[in-house]
Assembly symmetry: C2
Homo-oligomer: 321 residues x 2
């Protein structure tokens, strides 16, 4: 593949997806290639106090714009929480959920546009116009498909409550996306995948970030039908999650926390899955043969995205793989 | 009437209504009387960026709680506008409309509760619990009846746009409350008026503050049916509005900007209107006979609410009248 003219599609979740997308943008810029299309998970979107939050959209948006709080790992840098403190003084909102003031500006703009009748795609397009993102960002779907967690004790809660309030400590039995069966891929998603020269699955949470994207009816079929090779980057390095709590999510759906097991979970295109190639860390090199055995070409590469240079090198390796 | 046991109902709009309500609260406290019920205009409520604003409810709420910005005349004291600046940087919101951060806390709490299915009455009840208001606050209706202005040039806009953006400089032809014909008085409003010992109409804008309250089907009938005397306080002193732009509103509906003309607009209960008595300023004393001639007992009193002492004295005069 000629990287200089490659049309690249990335499937991405939040923080891991953002870092990887930054790397892809940088690698494509250096190659003089066109901007990538990033299909972002909207499965953990939520309504809070009547306001629509899209954590993964905003993570990618802020990271690509350079306004993200990279120390804290989410939200805007230099943000304050004056409104949230007041909201909680009213006994409203979620005491365990932080809404930054600058971040709220985004949420309110989005909510107003949605209430005006714009689709999620149109809202994301507007959000993409303020700063020069250097990628084309698409939501996975215009349909609301919030993620709920069914716990082993029978309780059911919004993913954000399970994740943020309970830090994923309550044993999950299942993740549900109400409305997913009726969801459609957002306009342009299937077309972008069909027209791509390469599709990359970012090292995001396979269950609650990439999982919802693949669950949107039509997206998995598009990945299986495209002439482009589909490469994934392992979010597991040396048997451990890089960040977040993907291991708990993987365990809940019966998948071992290992690079090879996640590859098997995604599956080989030749065997009904979505992967042609799988980037694994050097720490996991001894599982490469097992991945090859699945019909997925294992590529061992440095996966730690310590900085933009490492992210870009990883993206370049993924593009070449 | 024995003020010490009087059950008092006040019909009130925003700033003028708030000052008068403070006076009523003070006068009743001094008399050892029960807390008044304040029926507040919700006709200029609005949705902005998906968030529900209730300017008059909040004016009364903040004033009674002592957190209002009395210099600026609206909003919370010490408020900032960080979220609003960000909202506008997104090209959203209304550039001519200010949303304070602390104020937004109220709006978000309210919006969340409304989205959860609470009625406006239940929301106002929750908002009333944070601080000790010393009155029982009721919205005039649970129904959405936003005020629109039909301009003489045929344009139509939300009252807040006409008022705040255009400072009431565009010639209005008519004020409309879409949905008003189907609106019901909020629970407790008709009962409070029926059980009252005295009903007072605050010196609020007769057209866009008191007008919508009287337009809620059932409220005018309740005022006409109650055994309690109904007294009003003129918002016009010496042929001029005390604040705001009530004169433009009055002109639009063909009412002269004078204390007597507003009294005639409300009308005598004996003649199909709602007033038994009308408090007029000393500056307007020469029109007292004309008001008496309408079948409304004119009471000349000092109407300037310079401070709490003056407001309480006015309220006391109104209660005794």
């Amino acid at each position: 593949m000629d990287t200089a003219s490659a049309r690249v599609v990335v499937l991405a979740g939040g923080v891991g997806g953002s870092k990887f997308t930054l790397g892809v943008r940088e690698a494509l810029r250096r190659a003089g290639a066109p901007a990538a299309t990033v299909v972002v998970n909207t499965g953990d979107d939520l309504w809070l106090s009547g306001v629509r939050l899209q954590p993964d959209i905003d993570s990618v948006l802020y990271a690509l714009s350079g306004v993200n709080d990279s120390v804290r790992g989410w939200g805007r840098t230099g943000d304050t929480e004056r409104v949230n403190a007041e909201l909680q003084a009213w006994g409203a909102g979620w005491p365990w959920f932080t809404l930054g003031d600058l971040d709220l500006g985004t949420h309110l703009a989005r909510t107003g546009w949605l209430r005006d009748g714009l689709t999620v795609t149109q809202v994301v397009e507007r959000l993409s116009q303020r700063w020069n993102l250097g990628v084309r960002m698409l939501p996975m779907t215009d349909t609301e498909v919030d993620t709920h967690v069914l716990l082993q004790d029978g309780r059911r809660m919004h993913f954000q409550e399970w994740w943020t309030r309970h830090r994923a400590t309550l044993a999950p039995a299942e993740f549900e996306n109400p409305g997913m069966a009726e969801a459609l891929p957002a306009p342009g998603v299937v077309e972008a995948i069909a027209d791509a020269d390469v599709v990359l699955i970012a090292p995001s949470n396979p269950v609650v970030s990439i999982g919802p994207i693949l669950a949107v009816p039509g997206i998995r079929a598009a990945l299986r039908a495209t002439a482009a090779p589909v490469g994934g980057v392992s979010p597991i390095i040396g048997g451990k999650v890089v960040r977040g709590m993907a291991d708990v999510c993987l365990t809940a759906i019966g998948v071992e926390t290992s690079a090879a097991a996640v590859a098997a979970h995604y599956g080989a295109r030749s065997g009904g899955g979505v992967l042609d190639a799988w980037l694994m860390a050097e720490e996991d090199a001894d599982a490469a043969a097992a991945v090859d055995g699945l019909g997925i070409r294992a590529v061992v590469a440095p996966l730690w995205m310590r900085d933009l240079e490492h992210s870009a090198a990883l993206a370049d390796a993924a593009l070449r793989a």
